[in-house]
């Protein structure tokens, strides 16, 4: 069954973009681009030695001072964040270090960031993670995994402090599957969307969490997948409305809460 989640997101983005265009140049533009509610922002930027992950939150009309979340010898890219109902933030990113390409995770609770941890039992290489937290506090992470052949979409779940083993979302195949993102729909359904080469082209595919496994993939509305568009759609804040302290705007992810 096709999940119709894209129009809602698109509508919000168009609204935000319209506000941004109308208020461009105004000092209050950043605060007035339709995002008066709380939101979190994470991004990847160099500290002169390594590529780090930074965090800031938008509350009461301004962004908090950026906090550096990672500090080891690795380089960290493609961050993504979500918030549980109790306010705990779950941050995931792709780590490039002596362990290869891995997915890493950290939490922010009571104003303090936990140490970064690698997700257990990952494929040989993993990258491009996306995270969402459901209303029961279960953390779903999807990412590109590769065990030496084609890229596939993998997932893992953090529940009661334990990560599940990473498994493929879709059936085994001989073609690439890339650019995943996971979200909770208005009907509280967990849906993974990604691009997969099927037949003679890339299609936008979806799979729904059935409680104990992912349902067979379906072709999403819009059929033809454009990876760059989907990638851009992951971030909900237009680049031009980002605060000045985000000097590297290439890998920024913002999450608006309370929608």
């Amino acid at each position: 069954m096709t999940q119709k989640t894209i129009p809602w997101r698109t509508l919000l983005r168009l609204l935000a973009l319209a506000c941004c265009v109308l208020l461009q140049g105004h000092p209050a533009a950043a605060a007035a681009t339709g995002f008066q509610g709380p939101r979190d922002m994470v991004w990847s930027a160099s500290d002169g030695h390594n590529q780090r992950i930074y965090f800031s939150t938008f509350l009461n009309g301004s962004w908090s001072a950026p906090v550096r979340v990672t500090g080891d010898n690795g380089d960290h890219y493609l961050p993504c964040i979500d918030r549980a109902a109790d306010g705990t933030r779950h941050l995931v990113w792709a780590g490039y270090d002596e362990y290869g390409q891995t997915i890493q995770h950290a939490t922010l609770a009571n104003g303090k960031w936990s140490a970064a941890e690698r997700l257990p039992a990952l494929p040989a290489t993993s990258s491009a993670p996306f995270v969402t937290v459901d209303d029961r506090g279960r953390v779903f992470v999807v990412f590109i995994g590769n065990d030496g052949e084609d890229d596939d979409i993998y997932w893992s779940r953090l529940e009661n402090g334990t990560w599940s083993e990473s498994r493929r979302v879709h059936a085994d195949n001989d073609t690439p599957d890339i650019n995943p993102y996971v979200e909770i729909t208005d009907t509280n359904t967990v849906v993974v969307t990604w691009q997969g080469y099927r037949g003679d082209r890339y299609l936008t595919l979806q799979s729904v969490w059935g409680g104990d496994r992912w349902q067979p993939e379906t072709v999403a509305d819009g059929a033809d997948g454009q990876a760059e568009d989907e990638r851009e759609a992951r971030s909900e804040t237009p680049a031009e409305s980002l605060p000045d302290f985000v000097t590297d705007k290439r890998q920024v992810f913002t999450r608006i809460h309370g929608q």
């Binding site: 590529q51 890219y77 490039y96 590769n146 690439p176 990876a227 760059e228 290439r250």
Partner: protein, 318 residues
């Protein structure tokens, strides 16, 4: 009958000399911001245009942020719109940045090669430049480039090694660690120029060989006869499965034969002589419209046959 066949063969050799003037080729460059020209005044396609002059028109289809997935999705439309003879593909840097493995890049580039060949154009690949802007990702660039080389070898596609051309002095050739500056773009253009059939033999370099016997016979893969046979391979043989099998077979047994030819001067001359009919045929197939080819060949063959018949009548009037 023998005389007719001989005449047809001769006509193949003569047609290149009397064929209609050929329109300038179109070279299409596809890729990401490196091709589009982010941060430079003259992107590599513009510089390539200066190098080839009026011999070809260079069309820049680079798109900022493009990944190979997008390149593949857009390529068919570009082929229909631009109708190029050559397609230069420098793509994959964004895939590396956004966590797409080189196996996927290789998959997508292979599909792009198939698409280019479907339209009877010649694909030319390039390795990815370094990415010192993202040090963690830069460590993986050689893996992507190895995949591109492997793909070129397995599909018989010329690979221009832009990485090697840029890496030794990357700091002086890049604007931001990812994108080449004007001089870097010039080096990329130069790499492509050297494997295109517009470079004069004095330009040195060259690549994308594979025509081992012709190279041995003519002394260099930059000789126009060798380049023509290479185009024949890329545009006539490789788009078809039978042609691909022939090329694979040829690659298997020809290197030792070529080595033997290269060592013997007299044999080189003999092989050159034997190759000329094939070169003539290759030229005709590459440059003439099929109708012109068939009509011209039959017409010229008939003419030569008639001329051949007349001579005995004159020599033996009784």
């Amino acid at each position: 009958m023998k005389r007719f066949l001989l005449s047809v063969l001769c006509s193949c050799l003569l047609l290149p000399l009397c064929g209609p003037a050929v329109a300038a080729d179109v070279i299409m460059c596809v890729g990401d911001s490196i091709t589009a020209g982010y941060g430079v005044t003259a992107p590599y396609p513009s510089q390539l245009q200066s190098m080839v002059g009026g011999k070809a028109t260079v069309v820049n289809k680079g798109l900022n942020g493009e990944m190979t997935t997008g390149g593949l999705s857009r390529l068919n439309g570009y082929m229909l719109e631009v109708k190029p003879q050559y397609v230069l593909i420098l793509e994959g840097a964004n895939d590396a940045i956004f966590g797409v493995a080189f196996s996927t890049v290789k998959f997508n580039l292979a599909k792009m090669i198939d698409t280019v060949r479907f339209y009877k154009a010649t694909p030319i690949l390039s390795t990815l430049p370094p990415n010192t802007r993202d040090p963690g990702i830069n460590a993986y660039i050689p893996g992507y480039n190895k995949a591109i080389f492997d793909l070129g070898a397995s599909m018989g596609v010329t690979v221009v090694d832009s990485y090697s051309a840029l890496a030794t002095n990357w700091a002086g050739l890049t604007s931001d660690g990812l994108h080449p500056n004007d001089e870097g773009a010039r080096l990329i253009a130069d790499g492509f120029y050297r494997v295109l059939p517009y470079a004069s033999s004095g330009d040195g370099g060259g690549g994308g060989g594979g025509c081992f016997i012709a190279t041995a016979a003519f002394g260099s893969q930059l000789e126009p006869q060798v380049q023509l046979l290479r185009q024949f391979r890329d545009r006539i043989l490789l788009p078809h499965s039978l042609g691909q099998r022939f090329v694979e077979l040829y690659y298997t047994w020809s290197p030792p034969v070529a080595e033997h030819i290269a060592r013997h001067g007299w044999l080189r001359g003999l092989v050159r002589l034997c190759l000329y009919p094939l070169i003539g045929l290759a030229w005709c197939l590459l440059h003439l419209h099929p109708a012109v080819l068939i009509g011209g060949t039959l017409g010229l063959g008939l003419l030569l046959t008639l001329l051949g018949r007349r001579r005995p009548l004159v020599a033996h009037p009784s």
